[in-house]
Amino acid sequence: MKLTLRIWRQASPEAKGKMQKYVLDDVEPDMSFLEMLDVLNEKLVIDGKDPVSFDHDCREGICGSCGMVINGNAHGPQQYTTTCQLHMRHFDDGDTIDIEPWRAKAFPVVKDLVVDRSALDEIIKSGGYISVNTGSAPEAHAIPVDKVSADDAFDAATCIGCGACVAACPNGSSMLFTAAKVTHLGLLPQGQPERQTRAINMLARQDELDFGGCTNVGACHEVCPKGIPLASIAQLNHDVLGATLTGARSD
């Protein structure tokens, strides 16, 4: 396959970036998208040029590192797929592919396609956990969980924190991410004591961190590699509303 790539190149956070054109003649349809970029980088290194920086780690679709916007689509054209699991057979010979970093004020570009997603960690720090005293683990069967809650909590827990929801949201909102965490913990018995304060604290942190507000457009769900349901945002709203009305507080 012969491909023309237009890739966002930006030397440093302060530098002014631009789209740079590259032509690759020898792309195999069985390559993953990241392997295709590896091939490009090998060529760039041989030519003595600066390789394209991009984040990646597990390359099996579970770490959430490899986010990039491919032809206007976070993680590329295939639904429920991370960039590393996207294969070149989904493109045609002669295609031009635009590759850009996640765009959000909360995700500043570090270099080329690498963005700093620490803002999501900040949201987690503000409530994405349960507080338990350490000690020997309790008997797992001692706390019954109904099937529907277990399934919904598990669906929400599959969020890998890749930030595609933010990248695709017309408002630059991390609502689906925050909602996934709130739903995951809020549906399980262990998450109940902090359920309301978790929702308001995580939302408050998100609001502080340059993220926009949610308008229920649904672009986040469309690009989410794990298909986190839009209804998890309703769960977050529900918990926030309850906490707002009752005045729940954590201290």
Partner: protein, 231 residues
């Protein structure tokens, strides 16, 4: 023991993005109920001038014994105006926040941008507001009505819609209203936390049907005047 001062319910609500959305949703629900009542009232035009004008007069006399002449009407106007201020204030504040959240856009246009209704909520809302100003000047105060303010409501309506460009503007505005309700109603249900993965499609269909009924219910009046059914 450290006691942190607890914020009151107003600042708790107004202080978060979801709180502001709740304000938009609640005031939107007020508008929706009003718009449905307004549409049903409009349809009285098909029962002739006496029925329509009697209805308009009745609106001024409801609860007269307690609230006085036009008392209920003014109460309603105050509620609607307050709702409008809150609705737009919260929406503009979130619009500004969203603008700031992505200072540098994408070179390649986003492929999935959401429904037309969702994308046009903000500017659509502005258009509906501008229409509202015209609408009140035309049919409430009569300032821009060919017959002026003191004529019968029925005759003012016919005289206004006899101008094709006014009818066209009105129809476009109620279509914009339909789109606004189509996304707004579903979005409000989601904001109140009543959505679930199982119900989502049903809720979106419900919002679509409500929006379609309201749009048709309003548009049928100027269309009937244009085609000579209402004279």
């Amino acid at each position: 023991m450290v006691i942190t001062p607890q914020r009151n319910i107003v600042s708790r609500t107004w202080g978060t993005s979801v709180g502001k959305k709740t304000v938009i949703a609640t005031t939107g629900a007020v508008f929706l109920l009003y718009v449905i009542a307004h549409m049903l009232g409009n349809l009285k035009v098909f029962f002739g001038i006496e029925a329509f004008d009697a209805y308009a007069q009745h609106l001024r006399e409801i609860g007269e014994a307690i609230f006085g002449y036009e008392g209920v009407l003014w109460l309603l106007r105050v509620v609607l105006l307050t709702s409008l201020v809150l609705h737009m204030w919260a929406a503009f504040s979130l619009w500004y926040k969203a603008k700031k959240a992505r200072p540098i856009g994408y070179q390649h246009r986003q492929r999935w941008e959401g429904s037309y209704a969702a994308r046009t909520m903000r500017w659509g809302g502005v258009i509906i507001f501008l229409f509202l100003v015209w609408h009140i000047l035309d049919l409430t105060t009569g300032t821009v009505n060919p017959l002026g303010g003191d004529e019968s409501a029925y005759l003012k309506l016919v005289a206004s819609f006899d101008r094709w460009y006014v009818s066209l503007f009105y129809i476009l505005a109620v279509v914009a209203l339909g789109f606004h309700i189509r996304h707004g109603l579903w979005s409000a249900i989601q904001t109140f936390g009543a959505n679930s993965a199982l119900k989502q499609n049903a809720l979106k269909t419900f919002a679509f049907v409500v929006a379609a009924v309201i749009t048709i219910g309003f548009a049928i009046v100027p269309l009937s005047v244009m085609f000579g059914l209402v004279r």
